[in-house]
């Protein structure tokens, strides 16, 4: 009988080499991470031992760091293939260029939300001026279908897209027709406040498998405060539409976004309760974005990043409690961060990507024929800054739109791996790059991290989620894992 070799025969030699990694302060500890999305929180002395190569090959820490590619031993030239595979998997979203195609069908809206003072026209404004024409629609669809991806999302927004519903219907039918020979997989999404939606329209959505993304900012008083409408009570209108939508399309047919204003900050639990009451199983807690509303409004509804972070953490705590007591509910932004932290996979969320999703994963076709690399760039243009206008579907070719100067400018600041303040930040692999936002808030596409609200917010949220995970009990971990979507 052959004798087994003892485990000591298989242990690494005591000399190891370091792989490139980044480190950042994590309270009194350090977060270390690498470009393959692996991370670990180390005590200060553990980090010193790692760097000084004093960690013994039989320790748990050594094995953990080795399995996460922070160190290697012996002749593992083979490891490079594995690392390439990991990196390729993490960056998979970059293949096939733009996948999210936003069609801004009209600038008209029946709401005048306090966080959207600029980029809207009244419901009764001239349709021929502020709705997408047949010519623009047709040419925009042509550009969309020229993009290489076989699987695309065509998303309708406004203004209020329902005010241009006949044009939306035309768009869906036309896209399907033009797609007949190409056979791409098109997902339709309708972003709408749903006010006055008709049964007939909902039947059309059902027939063409159109997903609905709507808005709910919280309980009645808060929703109405944030989302003013000429009829007065937006909340009651929306509730009536929710009931009708559930009736026609079935329970669970809606997903909703909330926008946080200064007033919202006081009601984290009430907002969640409102979502639960309406049968939602998730919420996407959105910070007020810095685009497209007036300075005056900013003073009225704005708040500091710190205030938002406190609010966000309160919400997470409450949502975890809800799950603990048996109500399944998820926070979608945390779900995205968790997917980055805990899985090898890429995420499709364009605001957390490096290279940036702006322009590379999103294209926006405006009602007037202009093309933008994101909705934020469109809003920026509405305020008078058209730095990121890519061109016009009626006059510019695919090449002119997507290889012109604005795209070159975005590309120059697209990779956080090479950006000052990001390149050595351990949080960067879980964060993204937002050149347009930096141009808007910091004066150039590169920006200055210590004063960059995007950086401050994301770093703190990532840190908080890592803390929830590493300090969480089994039940908490189970809840957090359940928020990770495919």
């Amino acid at each position: 009988m052959q004798k087994f070799q003892p485990i000591s025969d298989f242990i690494d030699e005591s000399s190891y080499k370091l792989m490139p990694f980044k480190m950042s302060k994590f309270d009194s500890d350090y977060l270390i991470s690498n470009d393959f999305g692996e991370w670990e929180v180390l005590k200060s002395d553990e980090l010193t031992n790692l760097v000084n190569k004093n960690i013994t090959p039989t320790s748990k820490l050594y094995r953990k760091l080795k399995s996460k590619n922070f160190l290697y031993s012996g002749n593992t030239s083979l490891g490079v293939d594995i690392l390439a595979s990991k990196l390729k998997t993490k960056k998979e979203f970059i293949t096939d260029f733009s996948k999210l195609h936003i069609f801004c069908m009209t600038l008209r809206c029946n709401h005048s939300c306090i966080y959207c003072q600029v980029s809207r026209k009244s419901e009764s404004a001239n349709m021929t001026h502020y709705d997408m024409s047949d010519e623009v629609l047709s040419k925009s669809i042509d550009i969309m279908l020229q993009c290489p991806s076989d699987s695309i999302t065509m998303e309708f927004q406004g203004g209020e897209s329902l005010l241009a519903i006949e044009q939306v219907k035309k768009a869906i039918l036309l896209a399907n027709k033009k797609n007949e020979s190409l056979n791409k997989d098109i997902t339709f999404v309708m972003c709408t406040n749903l006010m006055h939606v008709t049964r007939e329209t909902l039947e059309f959505f059902k027939k063409h498998n159109v997903h609905i993304s709507t808005s709910l900012d919280g309980p009645q008083f808060l929703h109405n405060l944030n989302r003013a409408t000429s009829g007065g009570d937006s909340y009651s209108n929306v509730m009536e539409s929710f009931r009708l939508a559930n009736d026609v399309l079935g329970e669970g047919c809606l997903s909703a976004l909330m926008t946080t204003t200064k007033e919202s900050l006081k009601y984290p639990k009430e907002i969640i309760d409102e979502y639960v009451r309406n049968g939602f199983h998730n919420i996407f807690v959105r910070e007020l974005n810095p685009y497209g509303f007036a300075e005056k409004a900013a003073r009225k509804i704005g708040y500091s990043t710190e205030d938002f972070l406190t609010f966000y953490k309160e919400m997470l705590t409450y949502i975890i409690q809800l799950n603990m007591s048996g109500t399944y509910f998820e926070e979608s932004f945390a779900g995205l961060i968790l997917k980055k932290l805990l899985t090898p996979w890429a995420i499709g969320f364009v605001d957390l990507q490096s290279p940036t999703g702006t322009g590379f994963n999103v294209t926006l076709y405006n009602y007037d024929g202009k093309v933008y690399p994101s909705d934020e760039s469109r809003m920026l243009a509405e305020t008078g800054d058209d730095t990121f206008a890519l061109g016009d579907v009626r006059t510019d070719s695919y090449q002119e739109l997507f290889f012109g100067e604005p795209m070159q400018l975005i590309a120059s600041a697209a990779l956080n791996e090479s950006m000052p303040g990001c390149s050595d930040c351990a949080y960067a692999p879980f964060c993204g790059s937002e050149p347009v936002r930096r141009h808007q808030t910091q004066g150039d596409v590169i920006g200055h991290r210590p004063t960059d609200s995007y950086c401050i917010k994301n770093r703190e949220i990532i840190k908080h989620i890592i803390s929830l995970w590493t300090n969480g009990d089994d039940k908490t971990k189970e809840i957090l894992m359940s928020w990770i979507r495919n």
Binding site: D9, F10, S67, G79, I82, S85
Partner: protein, 243 residues
Amino acid sequence: MIDVKVSFTPSQGVMRNQFVAQTGLAVTSWSDECIGKNIFYLYDNGVIDEKLLSIASLVICSEALNDTPQSKMLIVNDIDYINDGSVISVNSSGKLRVLFNPKSTNNALFVTDACNNFCVMCPQPPKPIIQDDAVEHLNDVVSLIRKQDAPEVLGITGGEPTTIKAGLINVLKNISEKFPDTIIQLLSNGRLFSYRDFALEMGQASEKMFVCVPLFGATSDIHDYIVQSKGAFDRKRLINPTF
């Protein structure tokens, strides 16, 4: 599962070693599927199918049949284990094995006892020899399975199936050709997949295969110790980029 041993009593006066070792398809009635195959007549009462009886190389039954030579007759106590469509092997010393059962959702082809690992916990320690006729035998089993019994999933196990190398690719191609909708579950330690040519060929052999590879540790020392082979972990890690 494969390898269900069915106890049987040779008909009176027949010595165990008088059976001809063979593999065949057990059926209860004649059909076109019998043409060109080694057929065992699975008889469990009722009217005799004379056509089937005339071509069958063995009769498997629960009670002796009149007028049938005893050397052609297997009297089986647990005939319920064998179904119409089962693929069965009989060896000369009197062992009967069910290699494929159409009523099971868990069929697997057993490739070899040989293995290039020596896992500390293995209940079936590897034998150093690979049967010369392994490929021929496996292809024989595949060819005996009736089209109508196309399995949803077919396992391939051992030993380490990849030790028969190109032979395995040959078998996989045969399975995919005959049963294009069948999902192949290959249980492998994955080491051979570190050879790029082999991995590529395996990838092309079937569009419906997934390889189940055990990993016993997150680092090489633990895994290599458990499988008793230095470098096994690194070779396994190479599966992903090439396959």
